[in-house]
């Protein structure tokens, strides 16, 4: 039994199961909901299996079709991809249970196939080690995300989806040009081979510029974030949870992976990473202030995503000296933000469905009438703000530790300001959940499955605060961030 599990092709299951599940959902729309839930459940199990596998026999590399690196495509799973897969599996479970209750008959037949293809694209993206394959998975993810974002119809949703589609297509094309230059410059599209062959030359600089620009646009880093709030704000709640928690982080994952393997050593002299740090800081401050100004709940949460993405980019200037610690902190923040943000969007969705609107100022006594949603929002808010028991706190603590050790006081101040502003806009909402709305209006019952999925995701975000040791040790399998020069 032991050996079977060790050798079981978890990676293949992770990629093929969602795709096949999507096809079954498309073919037999009657049982779409059931197959969808089953597929997501088994994908989550296989992430566990993969985690166990690479925990024992280390990094997992698999040549697709047996052709080996330069010609064929390699699949590669190490601690970093495992963490992202775990985040995807967790959020996928929560969102699927939520959407089972959220979508009526007509929408659900259309939601499930596209959602499973999106899940398959995400898993494939985190597992591949080939930059052209990353382009195809990016494109599959982008189109599926846009299709889901525009599912609800309505002026705002469609404008948001259109803006998102244009941004994501432009980002992919610019990324593709970067890939083309890399391929013709160094003769291969495999990341590890590129890492060996790359040396500082105009090709590398141009490719880095293009890939960074494309992926920054898709990750909605500060100057290029215009498309995120309308898209995430007006999409259906489970979809905006997926977009904010996973899709935006997938392009960050690619940027990080390429930076660590190829561009980091060549290009990591301080001015490029300080630029990332600056943009990150600007994202935090600008995003939080905008979130504070919003009157609608979902738009506020979308702007909060823009701010939280800024935290991830703060790790670039810190990583020039203490690589492992800074990246572990950033990835921890990414993981807890994924869980917390998904919980927050689902909770907002519950409030929207309950009150019929998501205007913050007249949330009508939500705490009494919808306690679970308010509790989910509060717990998720704790993790976003970085208050102690939550995963966000651990990430923030690690990042602060690195920043203070390196004496980077401007980063410390930005992080603290970000935390305070986050507290401001989250408690603004929580305050209004207690009070009575000026004009009380009838409410629509919210199924228990939707409330509990939001709450369980929020509790997971908080429990993450206590699991730092195991998660960090898993994260550093095959030390994706280079040999740890300082104890993480």
């Amino acid at each position: 039994m032991e050996v079977v599990f060790k050798e079981f092709p978890w990676v293949a299951v992770l990629i093929l199961l969602p795709l096949l599940g999507g096809i079954v959902c498309f073919l037999f729309s009657g049982i779409a909901k059931f197959t969808g839930l089953m597929t997501v459940f088994f994908t989550a199990l296989s992430v566990l299996g993969l985690g166990w596998q690479i925990f024992d026999n280390g990094v997992y590399r698999h040549a697709v079709g047996g052709w080996g690196a330069p010609l064929g495509i390699d699949l590669y799973a190490d601690g970093l991809s495992l963490l992202m897969l775990a985040a995807t599996a967790f959020v996928a479970l929560g969102v699927s249970v939520y959407s089972a209750g959220y979508f009526e008959r007509g929408y659900s037949t259309r939601f499930w196939p596209i959602w499973l293809f999106l899940l398959g694209a995400l898993n494939a993206l985190f597992l591949t080690a080939d930059i052209f394959n990353l382009y195809v998975t990016l494109e599959l993810m982008g189109l599926a995300a846009v299709a889901l974002a525009g599912l609800a119809g309505g002026k705002n949703a469609l404008t948001g989806a259109m803006r998102y589609l244009l941004a994501t297509l432009l980002g992919s094309l610019v990324y593709l040009l970067g890939v083309a230059l890399l391929y013709h410059g160094f003769g291969t599209v495999d990341i590890t081979l590129l890492a060996q062959r790359a040396e500082a030359s105009p090709v590398i600089w141009a490719a880095f510029g293009l890939i960074a620009a494309g992926l920054m646009l898709k990750t909605a880093l500060f100057p290029l974030h215009f498309w995120l709030p309308p898209a995430h704000g007006s999409a259906p709640p489970p979809v905006s949870a997926l977009l904010s928690a996973l899709v935006v982080k997938a392009s960050f994952y690619i940027l990080l992976r390429l930076w660590l393997e190829i561009f980091g050593p060549l290009v990591s002299n301080t001015d490029v990473s300080t630029l990332f740090g600056l943009l990150g800081a600007a994202a935090i401050l600008w995003g939080s202030v905008q979130a504070l100004r919003q009157t609608r709940l979902k738009l506020m949460i979308a702007y909060s995503t823009v701010a939280q993405i800024g935290y991830l980019f703060l790790a670039f200037p810190l990583a020039t000296a203490a690589g492992v610690a800074a990246w572990s902190a950033a990835m921890y923040l990414a993981f807890s933000h994924a869980l917390a943000k998904a919980a927050m969007f689902l909770a907002a969705g519950n409030m929207l469905r309950f009150g019929g609107h998501d205007r913050i100022s007249d949330l009508d006594r939500v705490v009494q009438r919808l306690p679970l949603a308010a509790a989910a929002f509060a717990l998720a808010g704790m993790s976003i703000m970085g208050l102690p028991p939550s995963g966000g706190f651990i990430g923030k603590w690690l990042m602060l530790e690195v920043a203070i050790k390196q004496g980077r006081w401007e980063i410390v101040i930005v992080m603290i300001l970000g935390g305070l502003l986050a507290a401001a806009y989250i408690f603004k909402v929580l305050g209004h959940t207690f009070t009575q709305a000026p004009s009380p209006h009838e409410s629509k019952a919210v199924p228990a499955s939707m409330e509990w999925s939001a709450l369980l995701l929020a509790i997971a975000a908080v429990l993450l605060g206590f699991l730092a040791i195991p998660v960090l040790s898993l994260l550093n399998i095959g030390n994706p961030f280079g040999i740890s020069e300082v104890t993480p």
Binding site: L143, V146, K155, L158, M162, L165, L166, L173, Y183, H184
Partner: protein, 99 residues
């Protein structure tokens, strides 16, 4: 063969300029397609540098995949544009109503 690659760069830039500059969504979709063709041109032009007559085939496969992806993206974009036009009456991303 360098000439084709340079024209590819030209197409990419012209497409990017049009994408940024014009408001009408159909123009933006056309611009995206032109940019895609530019990138594919670079990919295949530089593939001829193998020294013998037979060019490097892998970029060809990449470009075919790229073309199929481009057509599916264009189809989705066109339908979204039509749905948007049906909803808002205009096929442009209006800046006025912010949220």
């Amino acid at each position: 063969m360098y000439f084709y690659a340079l024209i590819g760069v030209g197409l990419f830039s012209v497409g990017l300029y049009a994408l940024i500059n014009y408001a009408h969504l159909l123009r933006k979709i056309l611009a995206l397609n032109v940019m895609g063709s530019g990138i594919f041109l670079i990919l295949i032009a530089l593939a001829k540098r193998t020294g013998e007559t037979q060019p490097d085939v892998v970029p060809h496969a990449m470009v075919i995949t790229g073309i199929v992806v481009a057509v599916s993206a264009t189809a989705l974009a066109l339908t979204l544009m039509l749905k948007l036009a049906a909803e808002t009456g205009r096929a442009e991303l209006s800046e006025k109503d912010r949220d």
